[in-house]
């Protein structure tokens, strides 16, 4: 088995066994979606209107919950030093961790979203667009988040500063993702928004490993 796959499987196993970050993220996602109607009222027209934006913001925040541990755990117990010594380049290490994070949070969030969209009275066609946009867009959340996680990995309270760093950088993902759902609601073509979202996600997944690897390196004192 290649080192990349080994690392990927290890991280997924760790995520599943240590408290189940997927379960936590899903519960958080569902809870935010439950609180919003309590806050803005149960008007089904209004809820359908805001569903895309609310679910996108909630998904980004839910994915953030487990991001600060992306490198931190391995940094604290020293395994990150060992991983850095392995033949796998740090860029690919970062990519493996991003993929593992997406598989254990972004993907489950995407799978849950149609159910929550149902609670928000979102029609079937926009629901499909929401599902597709989350499927395309959440990898960007994990990728950009990995930059923040690697920059703050040595900090005791990195979890507080991480959102401040990466949420402004994620604005395009929320804009295009929620925008696609709005376009679908207005019966306009959502392809433009999905295309832009895909471009953003592609660039993020391609470039973030380099930034993340650079900041892991500086934190290891290399």
């Amino acid at each position: 088995m290649s080192p990349f796959v080994t690392l990927l499987l290890r991280d997924i196993r760790l995520a599943a066994r240590s408290g189940g970050s997927a379960v936590l993220a899903l519960s958080f996602f569902a809870l935010v979606a439950t609180l919003v109607p309590l806050g803005v009222g149960a008007d089904l027209h209004l809820l359908a209107r805001v569903a895309g934006g609310i679910l996108w913001v909630a998904a980004v925040l839910a994915a953030l919950l487990s991001l600060d541990r992306l490198f931190q755990g391995d940094f604290e117990d020293g395994s990150l030093d060992v991983i850095a010594l392995s033949p796998l380049p740090l860029e690919l290490t970062a990519l493996a961790k991003i993929t593992a994070h997406w598989l254990s949070t972004g993907l489950p969030l995407t799978l849950l979203s149609p159910l929550l969209a149902l609670l928000f009275n979102l029609p079937p066609q926009p629901t499909l667009i929401l599902f597709v946009s989350l499927l395309i867009g959440t990898p960007a959340v994990s990728a950009v988040g990995a930059i923040g996680a690697s920059l703050t990995l040595s900090l005791k309270r990195g979890g507080l500063i991480l959102p401040l760093i990466i949420l402004p950088l994620l604005a395009p993902a929320v804009i295009f993702g929620a925008g696609a759902v709005s376009l679908a609601l207005d019966r306009l073509g959502a392809a433009s928004a999905l295309g832009l979202l895909a471009a953003f996600a592609f660039a993020a997944v391609l470039l973030s490993p380099f930034a993340a690897a650079a900041s892991v390196r500086l934190n290891l004192g290399g």
Partner: protein
């Protein structure tokens, strides 16, 4: 490049900036005084009335807000590629001014918006991207403050600044896209009459000089602070 590195030496920088500082400070005062005088004595605009005066405080603030990020980005690149400590000091010193001028631009913009748009805040593309720019500055400064080891903090901040540079055009594009999707307010555009243009240009020059002056003072303070700390540790 050689020229740059000669003056990037802290000692040389102290000497040069000490000599230049009185002149930039005087030029700043002159530009701001003349600009403000001209700005407040222009005839009222036929549409905006006397609120046109805010233009001369607002637009230059936005210019400097973006200029400061550019300065941070260039310093970060110099720091990452050539590992120059003065570049780190300069980048760190520029951030609070960037945040301050961004905030000034947002506040004066919303004060102008109240009589013109009838509300302090509209989710106009430009306002929104400047609000995001303010958060980028705050995150950058927070990262600097959070990491105790200074060289590590400098390099982490430099990486973040460069990531921001790649992202800022994308954020701007996406916010513009979003704003047209939502049928945002149309931005008052058109040619600026010469009566208004001259005070505006003088104010812009004044703001840029103000930024450069304050930036130099902050870098000098940081260098002196480090020297003082080193002396304390040596004893």
């Amino acid at each position: 490049m050689n020229f740059l590195f000669r003056y990037a030496n802290p000692h040389e920088f102290m000497r040069l900036s000490g000599a230049v500082l009185p002149f930039t400070a005087a030029a700043t005062l002159l530009c701001l005084a003349v600009g403000l005088y001209l700005g407040f004595s222009v005839p009222p605009d036929y549409q905006q009335g006397t609120t046109i005066a805010l233009l001369f405080i607002h637009v230059p603030a936005d210019v400097v807000a973006e200029l400061a990020y550019g300065a941070i980005a260039v310093c970060s690149l110099l720091s990452l590629v050539w590992r120059h400590p003065l570049a780190d000091t300069a980048a760190r010193a520029a951030a609070p001014f960037g945040a301050l001028f961004t905030a000034l631009g947002l506040v004066t913009g919303s004060l102008w918006g109240k009589p013109m748009w009838g509300t302090y805040w509209v989710w106009d593309a430009r306002l929104t991207s400047f609000l995001l720019l303010l958060f980028l500055y705050l995150g950058y400064m927070a990262l600097w403050n959070a990491i105790e080891d200074e060289t590590r903090a400098a390099r982490a901040a430099a990486i973040l600044a460069l990531v921001g540079v790649v992202n800022i055009p994308i954020i701007k594009f996406s916010v513009d896209w979003w704003s047209t999707l939502h049928q945002g307010e149309s931005i008052v555009s058109g040619k600026v009459a010469p009566v208004y243009l001259w005070p505006l240009l003088i104010m812009m020059l004044g703001y840029v000089l103000l930024f450069l002056t304050l930036w130099m003072v902050r870098i000098r303070t940081a260098i002196l602070e480090r020297r003082a700390r080193n002396l304390m540790q040596a004893n």
